[in-house]
Symmetry: C2
Subunit: 230 residues, 2 copies
C-alpha cells in the first residue's frame, strides 16, 4: 500500500492533456515522491492506462479519478476524493455509493481524500458547485470533520489553477491531527512551492509540468526541500 | 473509550420523553450493553444532563446528538451521526463543520455513525429529507462508503418507529468489512429482536422501553441472546 503520509511533493499528470513517455520518465526521477494520474475532464480508462503504461518508476504511481466510476484497477493505489464543500450530496457520498453499488471495489487499494475546493473558476469548482467563499475557520472545520469524524488519510486544499490563500492552508494544517494535508494550485516554481510547503505537508504540482516542463517541476521539488531544510 | 464493536444490544433513551431514575437503574442492569441518550426533537443540554445524572451503571452511557451542536461533554462518549442518504450536504458534513468551527471538539471522544435512514415518516426521515426509497444494493453501497472510504466505526440502519426490510439489513451487513452494523426500528419484543439480530451486529431498542417498559426491554435482550446462541 502507498503511504501518502510520507509524501512531500506529488506530481499530478492529466491524462486528458497527455504526456510523452520521455517526460514521464523524467518526472519519475525528478525528486517527486509520487505521480498522480488524474484530472477533472475527459479522463477515460484508455488515457489513464496509456499514461500508466509509460511509467516505469521507483516512485508510486496512483490514479485519482474525479468520478470513481472512471477508475481503473491499474496503478499502485486509487486516490478517491470526496468534496466536503460541494453543494450537493453527489460529490460527497453519492457517486461513491453508485460506484460501490455497481463495481466490486477493492477498498484496501483506496486512499480517501477530503477535498476542500477553493477556486470557483476551476473545472472542479464548477463541476461540484463548491462553496469557495469559506473563511479559514470554515475550511478548518471541514478539515476537522475529514480528519476526526471520517478518518480520511488525506485532506486536500485545492485551489486548482491559482495560488491559494496561505491563511486557509495554515488554518487547515493547524486543525488536522492525523491526516496528511495536501495543497494544490498555482505552484509553478521554486518560490510558491517553498511558500506552500511552509504550511502543507505535501505540495501537488500539476499544470506547471504540462505547461512549463520538467525543469520547472524540479524547481518546485527544490522549493519544497528548502522549506523543510532538507 | 467505548467499544461499539463489543455491543450486541443498545437501549436508546429519548431525553425529550424523559425516564424515571428507577427505570434508568433497571435499564442499566437489564442485560443491555450500552445506554444511548439521544433523540431527534427537543433535545436540550439540560434534559441530557438530567438523564445522565440519574444513571449509575456499569454499562457505558453515551450521548448521541441529532445535531452535534446540542452535544454535551458528559457521558462516556459522543456518538455522532452523519446521514449518508440525506438530501442536502448539511446532514452529511455541514452541521459537523459548523460544530467543529464553533466548538473545541475533543475528537478522541467521538464515535462516528454512518446513518442510512429508511423510514420517510420518522422524525429523522423528515428532518434530513433522506432518500428512503433505496434498494438493498443502494443501502449496501452507502454502507461500503461509510466503512471503506470514511472508516466509520458504526453503520446504522435506521427504520425508526417501524420494523425494517430484513433484505436491506442483510445487504448492509454483507457489504461491511470492519464497521459494526447497528439496526434500529420497531424492535418491541423477543421476536423482532431475534429476527433483526440474525443480520445486524447490534440491535437498538428505543420506543419500546418508553412505551412498554423495562420488561419488554428484557425480552429484546433475550431475543438477541437467543439469535446468537448465548
Amino acid at each position: 500500500m502507498v503511504e501518502p503520509a510520507d509524501w512531500r511533493h506529488v506530481t499530478k499528470v492529466d491524462p486528458d492533456k497527455g504526456m510523452s513517455e520521455e517526460k514521464m520518465r523524467d518526472i519519475a526521477v525528478s525528486g517527486t515522491d509520487a505521480v498522480v494520474v488524474g484530472g477533472t475532464q475527459g479522463v477515460t480508462r484508455e488515457k489513464v492506462l496509456s499514461l500508466l503504461s509509460s511509467v516505469d518508476a521507483d516512485v508510486p504511481v496512483v490514479v485519482e479519478p474525479s468520478n470513481p466510476a472512471s477508475a481503473v484497477g491499474a496503478g499502485d493505489a486509487l486516490l478517491v476524493p470526496t468534496v466536503l464543500n460541494a453543494d450537493t450530496v453527489d460529490w460527497v457520498v453519492g457517486i461513491h455509493k453508485e460506484w460501490a453499488r455497481t463495481e466490486d471495489v477493492d477498498w484496501s487499494r483506496v486512499v480517501g481524500e477530503g477535498y476542500i475546493v477553493m477556486n470557483p473558476d476551476s473545472a472542479v469548482g464548477r463541476l461540484t458547485g463548491a462553496d469557495t467563499s469559506l473563511s479559514p475557520q470554515e475550511a478548518a472545520g471541514y478539515a476537522e470533520v475529514a480528519d476526526g469524524l471520517f478518518d480520511l488519510p488525506v485532506v486536500y486544499v485545492e485551489y486548482s489553477g491559482t495560488f491559494g490563500d496561505t491563511e486557509v492552508i495554515e488554518a487547515v494544517a493547524d486543525a488536522v491531527d492525523d491526516a496528511t494535508v495536501f495543497y494544490g494550485g498555482g505552484v509553478d516554481g521554486y518560490d510558491r512551492a517553498k511558500e506552500a510547503a511552509r504550511y502543507a505537508d505535501c505540495i501537488v504540482v500539476g499544470d506547471a509540468v504540462h505547461e512549463k516542463g520538467v525543469d520547472a517541476l524540479r524547481e518546485t521539488v527544490r522549493g519544497v526541500d528548502d522549506a523543510r531544510g532538507v
